[in-house]
C-alpha cells in the first residue's frame, strides 16, 4: 500500500511489520516521532510488543541487552547525545552478539547546541561492532529496517539503521508499505541461537581472561565478514519479495567517469540531480552512494572507483585532527590499489547546513580543475568569522 508518510514513521512501520517484541527508548529530538508512533502502535494493539519507557538512552540499550539475551526481537531509536550516552553499551551489544536493531537519526553533537543533521554521531561509533546502514529516502528507511532484522539475526550482530535529521526524519514522501504476509515470509519469527533459560543454565558475558578474549574478538570480525555476504543474500530475497534493492554501494555512471562523487544519506539525492545536469552538459562525472558503512564494502568500492582519475568525498561529519570520516575510509580502501585515483575530501553540511545543488556542483568543479588535493579536507561554504578585537 502506497502512503505519504514521514521518514520517522517509515522506521516505525518497519518495526511494526518486523513484529518487534520488546521496544525500549528515551526521547530525543529528532528521534521522537519514531517512538511516539511505536507507542501508539503498542497502545492500540497494532503491535503486540512491550514498550519500556526507560529513564535514559543508556538504560534503553541496557534493557534491550537483557531482552535480546532472553531471546526476543528488540528495537530502540536514538540520536546524537543519546547515541553518545549509549557508547559503552554499543560495545556490549556487539560483544554479546545480540541482534538488536536501532534507528539513529543523525544529529549534530553539542556544544553549540544543534538538533540538525550531521553524521558525526553515528560515524564516531564505527569501532563498536555494529553494522551500519545509511539511508537516502523514506522507502529505503522502511526497507532497510526490515532487512536489518534479517541481517542481525543471521550473523548475530546489532544493526544501526541511519537517517538524516529532518531531511529524512521529518519529511513526508510516498512510501510503499508492504503487507504483513509478505514481510512474515521474508522475516519469520526470531529463533535465537542462545538465550537465558533456567532449564539450560549458562553464564553470559562473564570474566574472560587473555587466553580466550582474543578469539572472541576475532569471531566478531568473522561475523562482520559474513555480514558482507549475508547482506547480498538478504537483499536478493528482499528484492524477490518486494521488487527493490539498494546494494552495499550504488554506482551511478561510474564506468566512464573521470571524477566520482562519494556520498551517503540525503546528500545522495541532491547529488543525483547535479550529476544528471552535469552529464547533460557533457561532464564525465559519476556518483557512488555508500549505504553499508560497517562492514565496509572495500571490494565494491574499489571496483566502482578504481578506474576514475579523481574521487570527491562529501562528508557531513568530521574527525578532529584528521579529516572527514568517509574520506578516511575511502583513502584506506584505495591505497593499496595500483594507480588509484586522487581522493579529495570535502566537508559540507555540518549541523544541518544545506548541501544544495550549487554546493555539490562547486565540489565537482573544484575537483575537476585541481591537479591534486592540496589539503586533507576542504571545508565548503565557510563564512568569514569576525572575532572580537
Amino acid at each position: 500500500m502506497r502512503k505519504v508518510i514521514e521518514g520517522s514513521h517509515a522506521v516505525a512501520e518497519g518495526v511494526r511489520l518486523a513484529r518487534a517484541q520488546v521496544i525500549s527508548a528515551y526521547p530525543i529530538t529528532p528521534q521522537t516521532h519514531i517512538v511516539e508512533r511505536l507507542s501508539e502502535f503498542c497502545a492500540d494493539g497494532t503491535l503486540d510488543a512491550r514498550f519500556l519507557r526507560v529513564e535514559s538512552e543508556h538504560s534503553a540499550l541496557a534493557a534491550l541487552i537483557g531482552a535480546a539475551s532472553t531471546g526476543v526481537r528488540t528495537f530502540t531509536a536514538t540520536s546524537s547525545q543519546g547515541l553518545a550516552l549509549m557508547h559503552e553499551l554499543l560495545h556490549w551489544a556487539s560483544g554479546a552478539r545480540l541482534p538488536i536493531v536501532m534507528a539513529n537519526v543523525n544529529r549534530a553533537l553539542a556544544p553549540g547546541w544543534n538538533i540538525w543533521a550531521d553524521q558525526t554521531d553515528s560515524l564516531a561509533q564505527r569501532d563498536t561492532g555494529w553494522i551500519q546502514l545509511y539511508c537516502e529516502d523514506s522507502q529505503e528507511v522502511l526497507d532497510t529496517t526490515l532487512q536489518a532484522y534479517r541481517l542481525a539475526e543471521w550473523v548475530n550482530l546489532p544493526v544501526m539503521v541511519i537517517l538524516d535529521a529532518f531531511f529524512l526524519s521529518h519529511t513526508y514522501e510516498p512510501v510503499d508499505i508492504p503487507d504483513q504476509e509478505t514481510v512474515d515470509r521474508f522475516l519469520p519469527p526470531f529463533q535465537p541461537r542462545f538465550h537465558l533459560n533456567p532449564e539450560s543454565p549458562c553464564t553470559f558475558g562473564q570474566m574472560s581472561p587473555p587466553g580466550v578474549y582474543m578469539e572472541m574478538r576475532r569471531s566478531i570480525q568473522a561475523a562482520m565478514e559474513d555480514a558482507l555476504v549475508a547482506f547480498a543474500d538478504v537483499e536478493e530475497e528482499f528484492s524477490r519479495a518486494h521488487g527493490r534493492r539498494y546494494g552495499p554501494v550504488e554506482a551511478v555512471h561510474c564506468d566512464d567517469a573521470g571524477v566520482i562523487l562519494v556520498t551517503s544519506g540525503t546528500v545522495t539525492s541532491t547529488s543525483r540531480q547535479v550529476i544528471a545536469e552535469l552529464r547533460a552538459r557533457g561532464e564525465k562525472v559519476g556518483l557512488l552512494k555508500i549505504k553499508l558503512f560497517r562492514p565496509f564494502p572495500v571490494e565494491s568500492i574499489r571496483a566502482a572507483l578504481g578506474r576514475a582519475r579523481k574521487v570527491a568525498v562529501i562528508d557531513r561529519n568530521f574527525s578532529f585532527g584528521a579529516s572527514g570520516i568517509f574520506a578516511q575510509e575511502i583513502r584506506a580502501a584505495l591505497c593499496n590499489l595500483r594507480g588509484h585515483p586522487a581522493v579529495f575530501g570535502y566537508i559540507a553540511g555540518l549541523g544541518g547546513r544545506d548541501v544544495t545543488t550549487a554546493v555539490i556542483e562547486e565540489i565537482y568543479i573544484r575537483t575537476r580543475d585541481a591537479e591534486a588535493p592540496k589539503e586533507e579536507s576542504i571545508w565548503v561554504g565557510l563564512q568569514e568569522v569576525k572575532h572580537a578585537p
Binding site: 519500556l52 541496557a62 537483557g66 531482552a67 553499551l89 533459560n197 553464564t203 553470559f204 562473564q206 570474566m207
Partner: protein, 294 residues
C-alpha cells in the same frame, strides 16, 4: 520455611571469593530461597570475579553479566522478554554490590522501581568498592578508612540510606537482611519471590579483606552490626508499612568498631559521636514503625 531449602544448593562448592566473603554467603542463601527458576542479572561487582572465569561458573542458574550501572535496566529487559514469551514463573534477580546500587547504578534502579518493574533486586553491601581494591562508596559508613579516604581523610560523611531512598519510590517491598541471620534472610527472599512488582533486599555482607578483619570474624561482625543497631533488620511494604524484625538488647557500637582495622584511627570522641548517629537513626526507624513517640 520448608526444610528442603537447606538441602538445595545453587552454587557449586568452588568459587574464587576471599576467605570469609560475606557476598558468597549471601548468594548461597538467596539462591536457596529462590530456587532454580531464576534468571540472574549481575552488573559488575565482586561477584563478577567470584563466579569464576570463562568457561567455568560456580552458578547453577542462568546469569547475564551486565555493565556496572545497568542492573535495573537489564533486569527490566529480561523481565519484559519473559513476559512477552508468557513466562511468569521465572524470577528475575538483579544482583549488585553497593557501588552498582547506591552510586553508579542508582539511576537505572530508580527508573526501574518507578516503573514498578517485576523483579527482585538484591544489593549485597560490603560498604566500599571492594572488587577494585577498597575505594569509598556512598555506602561506606562514617568513620571508615578506604584506599580513597586514607589517613586523616577518613570518611566524615554518613552512609546513604538506600532503603529509605527506595521507600520514597513507594517500592512494593524493601527489606534489610544480614548474612548472620540466615533464616531471616532466606525468609525475606522467599517472601519477595512470591510478590510481583519491584522488590529490594539490602543484605549486609562482610568483607574481611576490605574491613581489615580476620576472615573467621566475618559472621560475628555482621551479627554485631544488627545487635548494635548499626544495621537494623526491618521491612517496608508499599513504602509505608514498617516492620522491625529484630529488637536488639542495645549493645554499644564500640566493640564493633574496635574489631575492624578500617576504623582503628577513630578516637573515643569519634565513637561517641557515631553512637549518637546510630541512636538517632534507630529512633527515627522506631518512629516510622510506630514504636516510639513521634
Amino acid at each position: 520455611m520448608h526444610l528442603e531449602t537447606m538441602d538445595r544448593e545453587y552454587i557449586h562448592s568452588g568459587h574464587v571469593g576471599c576467605p570469609g566473603c560475606g557476598a558468597a554467603i549471601a548468594m548461597r542463601f538467596v539462591l536457596k530461597a529462590l530456587g532454580e527458576k531464576t534468571i540472574m542479572v549481575m552488573p559488575a561487582c565482586c561477584w563478577s570475579i567470584i563466579a569464576g572465569p570463562y568457561p567455568q561458573s560456580t552458578l547453577k542458574i542462568p546469569m547475564l553479566h551486565a555493565a556496572f550501572e545497568t542492573g535495573g535496566a537489564v533486569a527490566s529487559g529480561v523481565r519484559a522478554a519473559l513476559d512477552v514469551k508468557g513466562d511468569s514463573d521465572t524470577t528475575v534477580l538483579a544482583w549488585a554490590g553497593d557501588g552498582g546500587t547506591f552510586d553508579i547504578g542508582f539511576q537505572a534502579l530508580s527508573g526501574a522501581v518507578e516503573r514498578n518493574e517485576d523483579f527482585l533486586y538484591v544489593c549485597y553491601d560490603n560498604e566500599a568498592y571492594m572488587n577494585t581494591g577498597v575505594q569509598r562508596s556512598s555506602s561506606t559508613p562514617y568513620g571508615a578508612w578506604t584506599t580513597t579516604t586514607p589517613g586523616r581523610q577518613w570518611k566524615r560523611l554518613r552512609k546513604k540510606n538506600i532503603v529509605e531512598a527506595l521507600v520514597a519510590h513507594r517500592i512494593h517491598y524493601a527489606a534489610t537482611a544480614n548474612i548472620a541471620y540466615p533464616e531471616d534472610l532466606m525468609g525475606k527472599a522467599a517472601k519477595a519471590k512470591t510478590m510481583t512488582g519491584s522488590r529490594f533486599l539490602h543484605i549486609f555482607a562482610t568483607c574481611p579483606t576490605g574491613w581489615r578483619l580476620p576472615s573467621e570474624m566475618s559472621v560475628k561482625i555482621a551479627r554485631m552490626a544488627v545487635q548494635t543497631n548499626i544495621f537494623p533488620l526491618y521491612e517496608v511494604e508499599d513504602g509505608v508499612r514498617y516492620t522491625i524484625n529484630f529488637m536488639p538488647k542495645g549493645y554499644l557500637v564500640n566493640e564493633y568498631f574496635r574489631l575492624q582495622g578500617r576504623f582503628k584511627h577513630l578516637s573515643d570522641e569519634d565513637l561517641a559521636e557515631i553512637q549518637e548517629m546510630v541512636d538517632e537513626d534507630w529512633n527515627l526507624l522506631l518512629r516510622k514503625a510506630g514504636m516510639a513517640p513521634a
